[in-house]
Symmetry: C2
Subunit: 194 residues, 2 copies
DNA sequence: GATTTTATATGATGTTTATCATATAAAAAT
DNA sequence: ATTTTTATATGATAAACATCATATAAAATC
């Protein structure tokens, strides 16, 4: 079947989107090529017309995860600055919405565990994408570069750690972790005690 | 072969220890029953004399992970109190040793991602073990109960998040994350700005 | 020393997996 | 309208996996 020029590109994006969902929800191993292709509305064999291997798919999903999160945030909050921007960032990151959106949220709490076990090349790519994002957030922190960097690193650890833990806990504790981490992360970023 | 009364118990513990290592290093899926039994010096078939299923093994490894971490810490630092205890806790948690000991350290940064995808029963067990540990740490925080609870939750998120991220980054960034998180976590716990 | 008991080993089964060679069908080009 | 091109489908292959039935061998008991 020969479709319009960008039809293959569209299919590729459907595969990527299904993979992004399933990887976060089930993990790299349990999300099989077959089930990803099924969710994309195709059969398993066609996969290799789009990607060389499952590993290549994984690499692309990681890259896409950071891009999506950045784009979504930049487009919705480019009118905010400094402290307002930072507060909004933390609140959104630890919001109910993001907490429940394990299947499409930030790749760090959902995938970092598995990426930590990947080869050096994948880890390096992940590091570069993170640093890009780190520099962006640093811009909004009112402090000298090296101070700002330390504060953002501390806050990001806290935020992604809280989300990861909240998703493993049930009920009350999940909410408490998010709220406690949000309070401290904001305090750290704006440089005032909680 | 009929060995001494507790020989089976010893073998069971060797299986648990091999599983604890491999689960952290490779993840639940990639660590097969076969490879775990091989590391324990046995063949795969004998596994089912010790555990009903791989899931039961996973549940036992999670339980053991918390126990080990607690025991190790309590036995080595029961002479410390309050701020000293807390500082030592944070420093050890984010130390080079623990950073490199992915295969035998705290189960949270290594396994939380996968446990988040487990069934409600496993997640509930994990929650209970965590709460136990939480109450222990709270005792050393010099603040009213609810304040102490919030501070420890914030600090634990930060510490486990930092360790998880450090293990996915390469080199410099890994060190920076740990050091920034340690500084802020201590500040939070002792109630003084960094 | 013969018998019983039981911890571990062997080997088989059925399922799932990633990957690939080949087939099909429809759009595009002629 | 025929031919060419190519996106997807089918079906096969080989490996890995969890689980289980059965076998073996050695310690304990008599």
């Amino acid at each position: 079947m020969r479709y319009t020029t960008d039809h293959k590109q569209q299919t590729r994006e459907q595969i990527l989107s299904a993979a992004a969902r399933q990887f976060r929800e089930r993990g790299f191993d349990q999300a099989s090529v077959g089930s990803i292709m099924k969710e994309a509305g195709l059969t398993h064999g066609g996969f290799y017309a789009h990607f060389e291997s499952k590993d290549e798919l994984i690499a692309n999903v990681i890259r896409g995860g950071f891009d999506q999160v950045s784009e979504r945030f930049e487009s919705q909050f480019n009118h905010l600055h400094g402290e307002d921007w930072l507060r909004t960032w933390v609140d959104r990151y630890l919001s109910d919405g993001h907490y429940h959106a394990m299947d499409r949220g930030c790749p760090m709490p959902a995938l970092a565990g598995e990426i930590g076990r990947a080869d050096a090349q994948s880890r390096h790519a992940f590091t570069e994408l993170f640093e890009q994002r780190l520099r962006r957030v640093m811009k909004e922190v009112d402090a000298p570069q090296d101070q700002a960097r330390r504060r953002v690193l501390a806050a990001v650890s806290q935020m992604s750690g809280a989300l990861m833990l909240a998703r493993t806990f049930d009920n009350q504790l999940a909410d408490d972790v998010r709220s406690a981490a949000a309070e401290q992360a904001i305090a750290t970023l704006v440089g005032r005690p909680a």
